[in-house]
Symmetry: C2
Subunit: 353 residues, 2 copies
DNA sequence: CTGAAAGCGCTAACAT
DNA sequence: ATGTTAGCGCTTTCAG
């Protein structure tokens, strides 16, 4: 209704402290060329009046908007929310992103954007024009969409590409997929497993390939065979069933399986149960998301924890720093860790097989 | 870095269409007094240039900020995020709130605020001053904090109080706690249960009382006893263990228990297991959140689904309407529903007891 | 080091 | 029905 104007503005502070607007502005923004005594006097007025600058006005005058935009895929995100299966990707992003933003006086805003339509650019362009964010966080699959990265680069908006190792403009930051897969594989190798199967994710997610590489690397380092031991799924349950079946149908089936997603791990668990294979006695199983549900299965799953919060936090920091420092070149990797639960155990002794 | 100015402004559109800024503004805001032909001409220029108004500028000139602020309790929210136990309250709020906001050209922004400190007012005041939101969504326990509701009322910012029936300024909107508890109780009564225990939530959450009332009402309507059948917990697991034990220690113990939270339901399940009571054969159990985890227990729990998304969506709608229409008086209730799973069954026949 | 002036993009209020 | 003017709160010039 009635136009709500700012209750306390920079003018009030200036008047109270008996200085010019400019000096107040300098104090707010921690700029140099303010004598300590002056700085204190102004700060006292700010505190006294409870003054907080209007972000809109700051943005208007060509300064920052103090807004970081996190762009998520609309369909995937809404599907997760509706499914209510405990996938907490968004929460973890908020945990890492919001808190880091808050530390620097920024806010994080989530924006859902369709990848699959031809008006990605329009949707994104509109969000940028309306909000004028100081930085943008791109999550898969957006982080590998050249239409998007191109647009952002062109407009000169700092952005981070989460979950990709592609070269290009903006900060590339991954969750250590290769490293994490090695971690999981090494864990199984240490438990004496020699035939370790891997259920990969879909090819259009580059992280799928990196995870396969990590597994390959660890297997090769241990001089273990990999031939025929890698099947590909699409991250979903059904595809996991198919892949797990194929692996267990092998003449010489694996004694351990690493699945690239929680759903595919759940599917593997289901297939094992159907075949009378006990987990972990007969088959060890490692999941590749550490989403909440994997703790509630029987047995709870050993899982690679994707450091979503830490990665998001780091990305936000870099984005905020981008205003002053130069963005780092190359790929940044925030490594995950393995959470060992009940689904992995020593390999069954060979004579039992 | 370089001040990033709007690429296409209202000026460009005005020039392109050969009209005044004001006319463009009128078209953007769907205001009257624009001839259809003119409206079309301007819209054509807008589309052609891909113009999107700057929210900052709109807000600056005393118009809307197109921002809805959702205020959540900092400690509780962060604890949930860190625990990674699948509690998806925030996600459901986003699902209902963000999508509804988007339909109206608004954005929803989450802000974490400490309830327990003495500077609640400062924190909230700062958020308001910085963001100048058009509406605010208050979740428990903030929705019942008079310091907050008072501040908001004073500043004349439209706000919704979610999960409360308290009188006062702002829109009060509940998730049908009384109704939902009745629903759960009626379900058990229909299954032939006559002794139905209830584990209430803590007293400082008003919804705890409303849920108890729903249970009482249903029991009384069926002329069933309630004496000694209500224990109180604090929503947490431990308290659920204590409460469930007390109920099952009764001389004439209940054959069914309704727990006011998922954690307390899980605790009841655990206590039942320890005592060799089979769920649902010996004891039926209903949970009062429908958070993701209750689907992964053995057996999966029958649960009251809290319509968080629907409630948030409704609240956002009302907040946006508040600009033009008057806010509704009284309490709005968005009712939930019962999701029947494997933890409820016919009451054990009396001669077996 | 501090201040004064100009302007960001938009809309409310007032013309016409 | 359309155009003009003034100003929102702040920062960036540019002067002192």
């Amino acid at each position: 209704m009635g136009r709500r104007r700012q209750s306390v503005t920079i003018k009030h502070v200036a008047a109270d402290a008996g200085v010019s607007l400019q000096t107040v502005s300098r104090v707010i923004n921690n700029e140099p060329n303010v004598r300590p005594a002056m700085q204190e006097r102004v700060q006292a007025s700010i505190d006294k009046l409870g003054y907080v600058p209007s972000i809109a006005a700051q943005r208007m005058s060509g300064s920052r908007s103090y807004l970081i935009l996190a762009i998520n895929d609309r369909d995937l995100t809404i599907a997760d929310w509706r499914a209510r299966e405990g996938r907490d990707w968004v929460d973890q992003m908020l945990l890492g992103g919001m808190l880091t933003c808050a530390q620097h006086g920024y806010r994080m805003l989530i924006e859902l954007v369709d990848t699959h339509t031809d008006h990605v650019e329009r949707e994104l362009g509109a969000a940028i024009a309306a909000l004028q964010p100081d930085g943008i966080l791109l999550t898969p699959p957006h982080s590998e969409n050249p239409l998007i990265t191109g647009l952002l680069a062109e407009r000169g908006i700092p952005f981070a590409r989460i979950g990709t190792t592609d070269e290009g403009p903006g900060i590339a930051i991954t969750m250590g997929d290769t490293f994490n897969a090695q971690l999981a594989t090494d864990h199984l190798i240490e438990l004496g497993h020699e035939r370790i199967g891997f259920i990969a994710g879909p090819e259009d997610f580059s992280l799928s390939g990196r995870r396969v590489n990590g597994w390959l690397r660890a297997m090769e380092a241990a001089e273990l065979p990999t031939g025929g031991l890698c099947e590909r799924g699409d991250f979903g349950f059904e595809s996991g069933m198919v892949a797990a079946s194929k692996l267990l149908d092998l003449e010489n089936p694996p004694t351990a399986i690493i699945a690239s997603s929680d759903q595919m791990a759940l599917a593997t668990l289901e297939i094992a149960r159907k075949r009378g294979l006990k987990v972990p006695q007969d088959l060890s199983l490692v999941s590749f998301d550490n989403s909440p549900i994997v703790r509630f299965t029987q047995p709870p799953l050993t899982a690679v924890d994707q450091p979503i919060a830490a990665t998001t936090a780091r990305a936000v920091e870099l984005l905020i720093e981008a205003r002053t420092k130069k963005l780092p070149e190359g790929v940044i990797s925030v490594e995950g860790e393995l959470v060992v639960r009940g689904s992995t155990a020593r390999a069954p002794s060979r004579d039992n097989g």
